[in-house]
């Protein structure tokens, strides 16, 4: 039994309504724990004054330099005594979930038990970067709680100027669009560079994200410094039975309006069977006895739209791999940036392929560590030095897939033209 609840008239208004209420959850814990009684007191004060009352500090676990988000209350009386003493320390442990956020119930129960014992009982599943957020722990309890969590086989996530916790989509586990083993790629890269997560020493944060296809369900282009996104080089695969089922279920107008006319590059054509064209780069599938749809795969940009609308009838090709984009980040300081292509295609199947991806990520982190200014993200660094300098620093070949269009202004010194043409010819010969 905990001490008496503070009055929380503002928060109480968030207990009604059809959506599950976090306030009701906080109150359930407050019935057992003083830390939650006082957390509710501080939160209610924030609601009344529209002000936050946490400040950071330094709290960590033995052996690591990051992963705990320290929070100390700033709500104090004139003698510097906290108004809500039992929640005066309310730290969070960021814990990395299994790739894809799969759990068995035994594991979740254990987390709940550990957090009953050492913390507030409140667990955020999950943070925007993908961490299990064990929220509300006193300074004294951080170490013992961590030791029990670590003994379960779970490791601390990232915070500060460090490699951050990563995310991958559900992908191969339950999605036919998946073009590579997302979980394996995530674990290969993160676990090989785990030192940069636990001992923050980079110019600023660095995030990897992994999506199995261009639907990019984990928002990797906009939210990660290096995005690994599945794609394919050969023709879209087709399944005639499912294509016919689609037409039967939806009708010709849907096929035309929802699928064909929404292809961004007009790569899809509806033809009478008799007029069907043939060629190595054409995917053809009959939708009824009279009509076929045909996709010119050289024109297709792998946007996923038609595959999304006709699931199973159209599937990614067999020659799968990944596209790598670098430099996505949020607003601070130059404005939000998206990742841009640095590798249009690489295979990601064999041991060596994964090793190559691993090496690439290590090189990118190293380049970032050496060249970024303090508090500068990778995208800002690239904007400052130019993409070409970044590519040359990493020994990556340039490629027209990296631009929307060639430069539109003449303000550049081009006396190295002949050498560059030679290099382009060499690249062509090597390909």
């Amino acid at each position: 039994m905990a001490k008496k609840l503070h009055d929380t008239p503002m928060l109480d208004q968030l207990e009604s309504g059809p959506w599950p209420s976090f306030v009701t959850g906080l109150k359930r814990e407050a019935a057992k724990k003083d830390i939650m009684v006082d957390l509710l007191g501080q939160l209610e004060t924030s609601y009344e004054t529209k002000k936050g009352y946490w400040k950071g500090g330094t709290v960590g676990v033995f052996g690591y330099g990051g992963g705990v988000i320290p929070r100390f209350t700033e709500l104090k009386d004139e003698n510097e005594n906290p108004l809500f003493p039992d929640a005066a320390e309310f730290h969070t442990l960021r814990i990395q979930p299994p790739a894809g956020m799969h759990y068995d119930t035994a594991t979740l129960r254990k987390f709940a038990d550990i957090w009953d014992k050492y913390g507030s009982g409140l667990i955020g599943l999950h943070g925007q970067s993908g961490d299990i957020m064990m929220q509300g722990c006193s300074t004294a309890n951080v170490q013992p709680a961590w030791e029990e969590i670590n003994a379960m086989g779970f490791d601390m996530g990232g915070a500060g100027p460090a490699l951050r916790t990563s995310m991958s989509c559900v992908g191969a586990a339950r999605c036919e669009m998946s073009c590579y083993d997302e979980a394996r790629a995530l674990r290969t890269i993160i676990n090989a560079n785990i030192d940069d997560m636990h001992r923050p020493a980079l110019p600023y944060k660095f995030k990897f994200k992994f999506s199995g296809c261009p639907n990019d369900c984990v928002n990797s282009i906009q939210r990660s410094d290096m995005a690994t996104i599945g794609t394919w080089r050969d023709n879209i695969q087709v399944n005639e039975q499912l294509a016919r089922d689609y037409l039967k279920g939806h009708g010709m107008d849907k096929l035309v309006n929802d699928v064909i006319s929404k292809c961004p590059t007009r790569a899809i054509t509806l033809r009478n069977k008799a007029d069907a064209i043939s060629g190595d780069s054409i995917s053809t599938v009959a939708v009824d006895d009279q009509h076929v749809i045909q996709i010119e795969n050289h024109d297709c940009v792998r946007c996923m739209h038609c595959l999304n609308v006709m699931p199973g009838a159209l599937l990614p090709g067999k020659d799968k791999g990944v596209t790598i984009l670098v430099g996505g980040k949020s607003v601070l300081k130059i404005g939000a940036t998206m990742g841009t292509v640095v590798i249009p295609f690489m295979k990601l199947e064999s041991e060596e392929d994964f090793e190559k991806l691993n090496e690439l990520s290590r090189n990118i982190i190293d380049f970032f560590a050496e060249n970024a200014l303090e508090h500068e993200r990778t995208g800002e660094m690239i904007e400052r030095i130019g993409l070409v300098n970044f590519l040359e620093g990493l020994d990556l070949d340039i490629d027209p897939n990296m631009v929307n269009h060639p430069r539109a202004n003449p303000y550049v010194r081009m006396d190295g033209w002949d050498e560059e043409v030679e290099k382009a010819n060499e690249r062509k010969a090597a390909a």
């Binding site: 503002m10 208004q13 968030l14 959506w19 599950p20 976090f22 959850g25 906080l26 359930r28 814990e29 609601y47 529209k50 002000k51 936050g52 946490w54 676990v61 033995f62 690591y64 929070r71 790739a99 894809g100 759990y103 119930t105 035994a106 009953d116 667990i123 955020g124 925007q128 929220q135 170490q143 670590n150 086989g153 490791d155 191969a172 586990a173 339950r174 998946s178 674990r187 030192d195 636990h198 990019d216 282009i221 906009q222 939210r223 399944n239 309006n257 929802d258 929404k262 961004p264 792998r302 699931p311 199973g312 949020s330 607003v331 601070l332 300081k333 130059i334 404005g335 939000a336 998206m338």
Partner: protein, 356 residues
């Protein structure tokens, strides 16, 4: 201190031992999915193996009782496994169609809304707010709860033209991310500097460097080293506040809420896009932010009525044009909608493409 245990740097756990057995056995072998009803997905693997997924919403901030309840439900219905989506929805995997309805009944009886699949308004991706951030201008969980109460029907039905992803952020750093509709704190007054504190706690060069418009200068105030802000230059972004808490940017009255639309992460049809400003100046009206809810619902109502199937918010506006977006939603177009930050010329209409 001798007992301190050195960490086992085990890294990201292998998902296989945690994964539902049907997913594990068919890893990388799925060939088909369909959407039998809101909140339910069907997947088939190449060998014919089948799995039904039931998806439902949570408060994200979960207390021990709720976590154990989820575990009890998963043990009873879903072979003791579950997974979470990036938006804090939970997915239970079922091996027979007959298990769907009993599960949904059980979930609903415990207050979990089933939905969030395909062309629904799914759970709002959210930030930390008053609960745990040290710089928030407003709350996060509360805004999300208030909005999801309003949008509950759109979560449990799937009646939108395409999926709708909403995010909220309690400062302009925008941890919530790009979204079809993003609700973001927007400060409107420069920071009020607490000069007494600057002298004590502030690493002044760091703060000076953090300002995107170089509005901060070191200065002597009352004989003590402090900072001053050129209020004409200041864009009220709040970037100086995290490294220097005396730069008080949060203001109960002047910190407002802005709404942005048309962000899209997926590459489907158009390339990914950033969201664009459509409304601002909304009051930070706790605990239920009714003014914000009203604008979000207005935008969704127009989108739902007007967009073609499969058009995301950005695709729809791309077709109808921004003037008609403002016309149809009734939102005023102001000078603040015209960008003047770097690169802004590319956002101007350099053509005679005008819809009448």
């Amino acid at each position: 201190m001798a007992e301190l245990r050195a960490p086992d740097e085990c890294g990201v756990p292998d998902p296989m031992p945690f994964m539902h057995p049907t997913l594990r056995e068919n890893y990388g072998k799925w060939v088909f999915h369909s959407h039998p009803k809101p909140g339910v997905l069907y997947h088939r693997a190449e060998n014919g193996a089948e799995v039904w997924t039931v998806k439902f919403g949570t408060a994200r901030q979960l207390d021990g009782y709720t976590i154990r309840l989820l575990c009890d439900l998963a043990d009873k219905h879903a072979d003791g496994h579950m997974r979470f989506t990036a938006r804090s929805n939970v997915e239970f995997m079922l091996t027979a169609e007959s298990k769907i309805e009993p599960l949904i009944k059980d979930l609903n009886s415990h207050g979990f809304p089933v939905g969030g699949t395909a062309n629904s308004v799914t759970m709002i991706s959210h930030t930390q707010g008053f609960l745990h951030c040290d710089i928030p201008g407003t709350d996060a969980s509360g805004v999300v709860k208030a909005l999801m109460d309003e949008l509950h029907e759109e979560f449990i039905k799937c009646e939108m033209p395409n999926r709708v992803k909403i995010s909220t952020s309690c400062c302009e750093i925008n941890c919530g991310g790009q979204a079809d509709i993003a609700v973001i704190m927007q400060h409107t007054k420069p920071p009020k500097i607490n000069h007494d504190l600057v002298a004590n706690v502030c690493e002044r060069p760091t703060v000076v460097a953090r300002c995107p418009v170089a509005a901060i200068r070191p200065a002597l105030v009352n004989g003590k080293p402090s900072l001053e802000v050129d209020e004409k230059k200041c864009i009220c972004c709040g970037a100086c506040f995290p490294p220097c808490p005396p730069m008080a940017i949060n203001d109960p009255e002047h910190s407002k809420i802005a709404i942005w639309v048309g962000g899209k992460n997926s590459n489907a049809r158009s390339k990914p896009t950033f969201h664009k400003l459509v409304a601002a100046g909304l009051p930070n009206n706790l605990p239920r932010w009714p003014e914000v809810g009203a604008v979000v619902k207005k935008i969704l109502t127009v989108y739902k009525a007007d967009a073609q199937p499969w058009e995301r918010m950005a695709d729809w506006i791309d077709r109808i044009g921004w003037p008609r977006f403002f016309e149809k939603t009734g939102l005023p177009f102001t000078k603040y909608h015209i960008d003047d930050w770097r690169g802004s010329r590319t956002t101007l209409n350099a053509s005679t493409h005008i819809r009448f």
